[in-house]
């Protein structure tokens, strides 16, 4: 089975809870285990919030989220100036900001950042899914 959702959203903070709820509802329908859903909800939110904060001068961004068998692949694509994840230092203990990347790296099974020289950046997050017993998604998996 392969299912993909693609959304083009305004680069506005209010879009983040919207996409988060939408995607969490989809994963719940497929019967993905709650803990995996929590992880995906958070890493997806961090990737989107990153775009909201930093992807000047994009006005819109695109989120695609696909489930193929037991793998979930999320891509968050903006048309901003791109950024260098290696240049982001881990936050000092009492620092306010800088934990988004740390969270994405901890929760995703794979994180890739691709800067497109002409037009923006892509964050690609992968997560292995686990299904609850008797879940719909389990039967759809080949």
């Amino acid at each position: 089975m392969e299912a993909t959702i693609a959304l083009r959203l305004p680069r506005d903070a209010a879009s983040v809870p919207l996409i988060r709820r939408l995607f969490d509802g989809t994963l719940r329908s497929l019967g993905v285990e709650p803990q995996i859903r929590d992880d995906i909800e958070l890493m997806l939110s961090e990737a989107c919030s990153n775009v909201i904060r930093h992807a000047e001068p994009s006005e819109e961004y695109t989120v695609t989220a696909g489930v193929r068998d037991d793998l979930c692949v999320i891509r968050v694509i903006d048309t901003g100036d791109g950024f260098d994840p290696e240049a982001v230092r881990p936050p000092k203990p009492g620092a306010e900001h800088g934990r988004g990347l740390q969270i994405m790296r901890a929760l995703a099974d794979d994180v890739r950042f691709v800067n497109k020289p002409e037009d923006g950046a892509v964050v690609c997050l992968e997560k292995r899914l686990r299904y609850s017993p008797g879940a719909a998604g389990q039967f759809l998996a080949s």
Partner: protein, 104 residues
Amino acid sequence: MSEKTPLTVDVVALDATATRVALSGELDHDTAGELAELPDGWQRLDLDLSGLTFVDSSGLAALVRLWQRAGASGAELRLVAVTPYLRGLLKMTALDRLFGLPPG
């Protein structure tokens, strides 16, 4: 799309110097600013986090800001009723030590 994600902030004065604040709902990019509006004047703030269903890095930043605010005025901030979900997140970001959570 201007509707805020729900965060409820309940403030209870325990005595003249101690305040308990219970947060419930979602503490995220959209709602984190509400913590800045908490009143001053406490010597100890117990932050009850048991009702939070979602916290992201902006939510954590708001908690750190509150911790800095407490430190600047010589007050004490304590996280109480930390759920396993939140404990995992605080540990992942090394904030469990900042907030002095017991290990485990």
